[in-house]
C-alpha cells in the first residue's frame, strides 16, 4: 500500500513539473502532498502528516493558486524539448530507485509512540507544534492579504 501511495506521490509530483498549465500543475502538487501526508500517517509520523496536509497541501497551495490568479495565465514559459526529455529520464530512474528501496526504508521506521488517535497526537503529544502551526497559518493569511493588496493596486 505504501508503495502505491508513494508511486502516486511521484507520479503527481512528476505531472506538476511537466504540465504547462500552472493551475493544473499546482493541483497535481496538491494531490502529491495529500498522498505524502497519508504516507506519513501510515509510517507512524502523524504530526508530520498533519503538518504536510494542513500547511503544505492547504496553505501553501492557496498561496500558489492566488499568485497564479493575480499574475495572469498568459506568461507561459516554453522549455526546450531536450531538457524535458532529460528530466523525464532522470525522474523515471529516481522513481524506480525509490520504489525499489522502499521495503528497506520501511524497516527503519520508528515504532509507534503511545498516542493513538489523531486528536491525541495533536492536542496532547504535539501541543506546542499546534501553536507553531497557528503561527504559520496566521503568517500565511497575512501574507495573502498583503499579496491581494498588491494585486488590487495593480502592482
Amino acid at each position: 500500500m505504501n508503495a502505491l501511495l508513494l508511486a502516486g506521490v511521484l507520479i503527481f509530483a512528476g505531472l506538476a513539473v511537466f504540465l504547462r498549465d500552472m493551475l493544473k500543475a499546482v493541483i497535481c502538487l496538491l494531490i502529491s502532498s495529500v498522498f505524502l501526508g497519508i504516507v506519513f500517517f501510515r509510517l507512524n509520523a502523524p504530526f508530520a502528516g498533519v503538518f504536510e496536509i494542513s500547511v503544505v497541501a492547504g496553505l501553501i497551495m492557496v498561496l500558489f493558486i492566488l499568485t497564479i490568479s493575480l499574475t495572469g495565465a498568459e506568461d507561459t514559459v516554453s522549455e526546450p524539448k531536450i531538457h524535458i526529455a532529460f528530466f523525464a529520464v532522470l525522474f523515471l530512474i529516481f522513481s524506480c530507485v525509490v520504489l525499489y528501496r522502499l521495503p528497506a526504508a520501511e524497516k527503519l521506521v520508528v515504532k509507534p509512540d503511545h498516542y493513538n488517535s489523531f486528536g491525541e497526537v495533536l492536542w496532547i503529544g504535539r501541543a506546542f507544534d499546534m501553536i507553531g502551526q497557528i503561527s504559520v497559518i496566521f503568517a500565511g493569511v497575512f501574507v495573502l492579504l498583503a499579496v491581494v493588496g498588491r494585486g488590487r493596486n495593480g502592482k
Binding site: 508530520a48 507544534d129 503568517a139 497575512f142 493588496g149
Partner: protein, 491 residues
C-alpha cells in the same frame, strides 16, 4: 505561564488586530503593536532580574491545573536572545509609526510583525527540534510578508528569491531532523542529548547547509542582497537584527553545541565558512552604491565573524561570538533604519543620487556615523570590544592568518561604510535635495535610542559581559551537558 507570554501575547494580538483596529486604523495599530513589544521587553528584563544566572530550565505550561504538554526551555542563551528580539522589535515598531505612512496598511504590517516576533520567540524557547522547525517556517513566511509589502516590482523579485531559498534551507533542516529522528527515535533536544548518538556526516552537512542558508553564509548568501535592497527598511532591520540571528545562528548553535556537541569537523567547517563570508561580504560590499544592498553584504561579513567565533569553540571565542551577535543586532538595525530614513526623506537610498544630506538630516547623519564606527570596530563603541575578543580568541587558538583576515576585513568595513557616509551625508547638497527635511519624531527617536545604546554597551561593556553574556556562554561551553543537566520547574 510567564514564559509563554513571549509567544502567546503577540500571537493572540496578531489574531485580534484586524478586528480591534476597525475602531481606528491610524493610531490603534501603532499603540497596540508597540505596547506589546514594550511589554515583551519589560517581561524579558523581569526574568533577567529573577534569573539565578546559570543553568538550563524546562518549564511545562499549566493551564487551570492541567498540564498542556507545552515544554518551554530557558537558559542564559535563550534569555539573551529573547531580550534582543524584544528590543529590536520595539525599536523597529517605534520607527514604523512614521515610516508606515509610505507603506499602506498598518494593521497588516503590525499583524505580520507580531506573528514574526511570536515565531522567533517560539524558536528560542522550543525544547524540540521539530517544534523549532515549525516556528522557523512561521518566521520565514512572516518575513516574506514584510518583503512583499514593498512598493516596486524588484521587491517582489526579492521576496520570491527569499521565499524559494528559505524553503530550500528549511528542507535541508527538516531532512536533518528526520535523520536524527530515524537514529534516535525522538526530536526532543534533551532526549537526543541523552542518547549516545554521533551525528552522521550527512546530518551535519544538512544542518550546516540549512542553517547556513538562513544565516546567509557564503556560498548560501545570494538571497540576502536582493531581499534587503528593495523591501521596506523595517524588513532588513528585523531580518538582519533578529530573524537571521535566531533562525540561523541561534538554531545552529543549539544543534551543534547542545544537541550533538561541537566536533572538530563542524568547528573547522564553521571557521572556513565564516572566514570566507567575512572576506567575500566585505569585498562585495565595496562595489555597492545602494545603501541597503551594501548593508546586506556587510551583514554577510559580520555574521561571518560570529560564526568564526563560535567555530573556535573556546570559552573566549564563544563569549566574542555572543557579544558580536548581540552588538551586530543593535548597530545593523540602526544602520538599516538610517537607510530607511534616507529613503523616506529623499525617495531613494542610491548614493549616486544623494549628497550633502548631513546639514538637512543631522540626526540621521549623526546616528549613522555611530552605527558605522560600531560596525567597523572603532573604540570605544560596542563593535570594537566584540571584534577585539574574537581576534584575541583567534590568536589564542594560534589561528594567526584568520586573526589577520578579521582585522583586515574590519578595516575594509570602515573604508566602504565611510565612503558611503561621505557620498550621502557630506559634501555639497545636491539641488534636487533642497526640499529634504529631517525625518519625523518617532523615526528620529528610534535611531537616537539605538545609537545611544551602541555607545552605552560599548562604554559599559564589562558589566554587560558579566551579567548577560557569561550565563549565555556557559550554556554553550557546557555543550551537551547543559541539556542533560536541565532542571524542570513549574508544570
Amino acid at each position: 505561564m510567564f514564559l509563554f507570554v513571549f509567544i502567546g501575547l503577540p500571537l493572540v494580538l496578531a489574531g485580534f488586530m484586524p478586528v480591534i483596529t476597525r475602531i481606528s486604523k491610524r493610531i490603534l495599530p501603532d499603540i497596540l503593536g508597540n505596547l506589546c513589544f514594550f511589554l515583551l521587553l519589560v517581561a524579558s528584563l523581569s526574568i533577567f532580574h529573577l534569573w539565578p544566572g546559570a543553568g538550563r530550565f524546562y518549564h511545562t505550561l499549566v493551564w487551570f491545573d492541567s498540564n498542556l504538554n507545552i515544554p518551554l526551555v530557558l537558559d542564559g542563551f535563550s534569555l539573551l536572545m529573547i531580550f534582543i528580539s524584544s528590543f529590536v522589535a520595539l525599536s523597529v515598531g517605534l520607527f514604523s509609526i512614521n515610516y508606515l505612512d509610505r507603506y499602506g496598511s498598518r494593521t497588516l504590517f503590525y499583524s505580520i510583525m507580531l506573528v514574526l516576533v511570536a515565531s522567533i520567540n517560539g524558536i528560542i524557547l522550543a525544547a524540540d527540534l521539530f517544534t523549532m522547525y515549525i516556528f522557523i517556517e512561521a518566521a520565514g513566511i512572516s518575513s516574506y510578508g514584510l518583503v512583499a509589502l514593498g512598493k516596486n516590482r524588484y521587491s517582489t523579485e526579492g521576496a520570491f528569491k527569499y521565499l524559494v531559498l528559505s524553503a530550500i534551507g528549511s528542507s535541508f533542516i527538516l531532512l536533518g531532523i528526520a535523520l536524527v529522528f530515524v537514529n534516535t527515535g525522538t526530536t526532543s533536544i534533551k532526549e537526543i542529548a541523552s542518547v549516545t548518538f554521533s551525528s552522521t556526516k550527512l546530518g551535519v552537512i544538512l544542518f550546516l547547509v540549512g542553517f547556513g542558508l538562513k544565516c546567509a553564509l557564503v556560498p548560501f548568501h545570494f538571497w540576502m542582497p536582493d531581499a534587503y535592497a528593495f523591501a521596506p527598511a523595517v524588513l532588513p532591520a528585523m531580518s538582519s537584527g533578529i530573524f537571521v540571528k535566531v533562525a540561523g545562528v541561534y538554531s545552529l548553535c543549539r544543534v551543534f553545541f547542545n544537541v550533538f556537541g561541537l566536533s572538530f569537523a563542524v568547528s573547522s567547517a564553521m571557521i572556513y565558512l565564516g572566514i570566507i563570508s567575512i572576506l567575500a561580504g566585505a569585498f562585495l560590499a565595496l562595489g555597492q552604491t545602494q545603501l541597503r544592498r551594501m548593508l546586506a553584504f556587510s551583514s554577510i561579513s559580520q555574521i561571518g565573524y560570529v560564526i568564526v567565533a563560535f567555530g573556535i569553540g573556546t570559552p573566549l571565542g564563544i563569549i566574542g561570538g555572543l557579544l558580536h551577535l548581540f552588538y551586530h543586532s543593535i548597530f545593523k538595525v540602526l544602520l538599516f533604519l538610517n537607510a530607511g530614513a534616507v529613503e523616506y526623506a529623499t525617495g531613494t537610498d542610491e548614493s549616486k543620487s544623494l549628497g550633502g544630506l548631513g546639514g538637512k538630516m543631522p540626526f540621521t547623519s549623526g546616528t549613522n556615523i555611530i552605527g558605522i564606527l560600531s560596525a567597523a570596530g572603532v573604540p570605544p563603541l560596542n563593535g570594537f570590544w566584540s571584534k577585539l575578543i574574537i581576534v584575541i580568541a583567534l590568536v589564542q587558538a594560534k589561528m594567526f592568518l584568520y586573526a589577520f583576515i578579521a582585522v583586515f576585513a574590519s578595516v575594509l568595513t570602515l573604508w566602504y561604510l565611510l565612503l558611503i557616509q561621505r557620498r550621502i551625508f557630506f559634501g555639497k547638497l545636491k539641488e534636487t535635495l533642497a526640499h529634504v527635511n529631517e525625518v519625523p519624531f518617532w523615526m528620529t527617536l528610534s535611531m537616537v535610542g539605538l545609537a545611544l545604546f551602541c555607545v552605552w554597551t560599548g562604554v559599559a561593556f564589562a558589566p554587560f559581559i558579566s551579567r548577560w553574556i557569561l550565563p549565555a556562554a556557559q550554556v554553550l561551553i557546557d555543550g551537551v551537558r547543559a541539556s542533560l543537566n536541565a532542571f524542570i520547574i513549574g508544570g
